[in-house]
Assembly symmetry: C2
Homo-oligomer: 269 residues x 2
Amino acid sequence: MIDSAEPLSSLRRALGLLRLVGAADAGGIRLKDLAEQAGCSQPTAHRALQDLAAEGFVEQVGKRYRLALDFFVLAARAGHADGLRDLAKPVLLRLSATLTDTIFLLVRNGYEAVCLDRIEGPFPIRSFTGDIGGKVPLGLGQGSLAILAHLPEAEREAVIRFNVPRLLDRGFLDEAALRVELEKARAQGWVNLNTGLIPGMAGLGVPVFDAQGRAVAALSVGTLADRLRPERLPGVVAILKAEAATLGAMLNPFDTALRHPSRSLSAVS
Amino acid sequence: MIDSAEPLSSLRRALGLLRLVGAADAGGIRLKDLAEQAGCSQPTAHRALQDLAAEGFVEQVGKRYRLALDFFVLAARAGHADGLRDLAKPVLLRLSATLTDTIFLLVRNGYEAVCLDRIEGPFPIRSFTGDIGGKVPLGLGQGSLAILAHLPEAEREAVIRFNVPRLLDRGFLDEAALRVELEKARAQGWVNLNTGLIPGMAGLGVPVFDAQGRAVAALSVGTLADRLRPERLPGVVAILKAEAATLGAMLNPFDTALRHPSRSLSAVS
DNA sequence: AACTAAAATTTCTTTATATGGAATTTATTG
DNA sequence: CAATAAATTCCATATAAAGAAATTTTAGTT
């Protein structure tokens, strides 16, 4: 997989191993396969894994390694960029109480949108992002599309270029259709694309702008298609937009995104 | 803080730094302080942080470091021990739909209980565990207490010994009162202790047993004290216990806990 | 249940890499 | 705008990580 020219430090190699452990399925992964995939010798992988386990990042069950619970606990504190999750919590709760549907908070992360939080409604919703911590390419799903639509043009184009193949892979729109949707989203300020990819389900996404007017996040609703028919839709749009505005107003103007614009794209591995 | 005799590998030192970054508050932490707390020189910390950042575990905003979103995404896959979270999802959804209260899934992790998932009800609930990924000492909170009460005696005693001071620190029961509650919990099979620590709130916890009969997890409900009055309480208990039994029955009998009993306590740092 | 093949550990020597002091640059503060 | 403190770079040295080979453990097979 990973190929050439990587004279990595031992630390980066170990972090790569950690990532591989994370990519393995729930049953865990064997040392041999780890070493092979990481491109290092078995003893090397072994020692790194021992350290990882000693620090509680990885656990060894039988002869297989998997991510440990401590790791989960530690990371629950991550992604709190600007305290967004905490800021958004009351917003999500209000939306959930008002709409009684499933509510998502997505944030942009490079070429992806990450589900930072969600509150479940009464119907089990199958979403692209999956659970909290899940991610989708920007452009797939209503909230994700809402963010993409409102990025500055240059960034948007860069993301489109990168993501179109991935969207096609997942049976989504081709580039032309995507551009039509983006245009529409930008014009109306919200997304209600019903792709039919998830039968019977529908969603609605609106962008959240920070103090610099950047689309850093999105709020979205996932529900039964039935519950977004024309008579209810406008009301839901209004409520979502209002909450998105409230949330946007809480984002600290003296914050990170613009001070390090380069990072936003370069951080993609 | 960390004192003597720790001739750690460079990897462990770096992981320690990562932990420290996680422990810092949302604003991030400076290199100087990291180096100091970790007990290493600044250049050393600097290089480790650069690697951590290059791998997307940490991000540098201005001159401060904090956990990155990629880390959050990676860790969302952790703690899936035995796929418990996925197994429990439908259980939580059913409970949430039936009871319309906030539902928690806790798992035991050493001396603590970790909130592996939760579904929010209509009332904002303040809980000890906080959000998903939060942890509490075993014994604090209804679900956590339910787990502790049903551990094998030797383990239970070890946990009590370790946790009593921590419980006292948080203004909770002293050892005698705790033992009374544990006895009661074991007798009735559920916990409805109302500590008054969170005014107006009440909770109810039941243990989840795996195929070996070990209390590995708990389901709990958090709601307004009003909603757990005598006329409703027994029904809620019955529903919770039924779902806990369902969940327990899904836990794979050929699994980890008993094969490595030593780990359960020794994994605490 | 014994046998065989494969993976996991351990050992050991070489080599590569991490380390902290000192120097330089960049921020922060009065 | 100076003065101070933190961040970053450089560098010689010590140290710890690397992989080959050997050993033990595990898992698969008849």
